[in-house]
């Protein structure tokens, strides 16, 4: 697994397209949001700004990169090559997505630290960490499922749009309008409950017992996406 992850880091560094989409764009967009946090927090709250930053990084830095990576590795038969070794399927997948996941987590945490420094620090850091980790797991699982529907890296530019735009849109919807109305729908949509959790964790004022159940829908999406991935994911191109 570590050997695969190391080789992925090497490939990310050598591939400018992945480097730009995976590193520069999320950081640039998130940096802009942080810079304009007063404008954005005027729309919702500082927790909303944190949620938007998190999902921008996870959608474009992790999800899109992971789908593109797996489609590319499948297309050039690298996945088949890896499966010709003694490595297990699980260790291959973990090795492939681990670098993008770690990079996205570092980005999200770094931007949130900056946001906390320039504005107000989050009220409940452990809860915020839980929200970030659950959201990361959801986006990785969704990436595995989407990769099953994606035939090439070029195709990934299309297949990743619905999920990546949806989670950012849902985060905005929930972050700006709250969950007083259509609460069930908003919480069940991918990213909805995670956004509410981030808002609660950053802004504070909500009892922990009320916030923790918000993890359930996000973890539910992890299960659903993993089940879809187990049916959809392919190791070789269709013949």
């Amino acid at each position: 697994m570590l050997a695969i992850a190391r080789s992925e880091v090497t490939q990310i560094v050598r591939n400018r397209l992945v480097l730009v989409t995976g590193l520069v764009i999320p950081v640039a967009v998130s940096g802009y949001v942080v810079h304009q946090h007063e404008v954005f927090s005027g729309l919702g709250s500082l927790g909303y700004v944190a949620a938007i930053v998190m999902f921008t990084v996870l959608a474009f830095g992790l999800y899109t990169t992971a789908v593109t990576t797996m489609a590319s590795r499948r297309q050039n038969l690298f996945l088949k090559r890896l499966r010709s070794t003694a490595a297990s399927d699980a260790s291959i997948l973990v090795g492939l997505v681990a670098p993008a996941t770690v990079i996205a987590l570092v980005q999200a945490v770094a931007i949130m630290v900056v946001l906390g420094a320039v504005a107000t620090e989050p009220a409940r850091v452990p809860l915020l960490a839980l929200a970030v980790l659950a959201s990361t797991a959801m986006m990785v699982a969704l990436a595995l499922a989407t990769a099953g529907l994606t035939s090439s890296p070029e195709h990934a530019q299309v297949t990743t749009l619905p999920v990546s735009l949806s989670v950012v849109a849902v985060a905005s919807w929930v972050g700006i309008s709250g969950t007083e109305q259509l609460g069930l729908l908003k919480r069940l949509l991918p990213g909805g409950s995670a956004t509410e959790l981030v808002v609660d964790a950053w802004n504070g004022g909500v009892p922990l017992a009320d916030s923790l159940p918000l993890l359930a829908p996000t973890l539910g999406w992890v299960v659903v996406a993993a089940a879809l991935a187990s049916r959809l994911f392919r190791w070789e191109p269709r013949r």
């Binding site: 695969i4 080789s7 050039n76 003694a86 490595a87």
Partner: protein, 292 residues
Amino acid sequence: MSDTPVIEVDGLTVTYGAFVAVRDLSFGVQRGELYALLGTNGAGKTSTLEVVEGHRRATSGTVRIFGASPQDRRAVRPRTGIMLQESGFSPDLTVRESVGLIGSLSGRRDDIDRVLAIAGLSRKVDTLVSQLSGGEKRRLDFATAVYGGPELVILDEPTTGLDIQSRDALWAAVGRLRDEGSTVVLTTHYLEEAQQRADRIGLMHQGTLRREGTVAELTQTLPSVISFGLPPGAPEPPTVGALNGGFRIETFHLQDDLHRLLVWARDHGVELQQLEAGPTRLDDVFRALDAA
């Protein structure tokens, strides 16, 4: 050679929807043997090999490698080197990084420089895979297959795209592996390679194993061929059939009939043109299969 088969295929059937690619296939490969699985296009050898490699599940039947399921990678892969039909390397990694990665995941240990020397890639260690030629990529594939001297080496069309020198080097390396006791399974479109090197050959056609045996066993059912041409005005030669403007003798007694033809030519003062004589080749066995 031990009697314990390295590969046991029993009643293997592989289907894709309604299409039956392999039907009730059974064969075994003994330790130390070089077994060539040959077939016409669409004969089912790639599907068979993919099940043996563990890349595909059998629809029915069983396949055992070293007594274990091919899907049991921990048990099988450290003992098996696989040269895939197509490259499957990341274009953004160098030759050394590619061999290092696949080698480290193989469960075997080896010196990367030694392996690259065997594959003739010593001058390309720091070259990106994207900058390799097709033949060099095949050699890289071979390097990862022989990394660590596996007990079983599966070579799927290993010499396709290789020049003569590279082919010779590859077969020399395979010969050394065999000297060390490795078992080799081979598919190839170059029948002369199988004819020269295989201990036994399995001939597949339309999803089934039609013939199996040594080259001598496979070719003994078909006659050898003597072909030649005659100058204008030459008398009719003995016991021949005309073919494409020349003459062709099919015989199970090559030496006797060739001797008789040469004696006849000398006695009649005839110079035989483009004379060729030889044992039955696998090509002929193949054509006979296809025509059957």
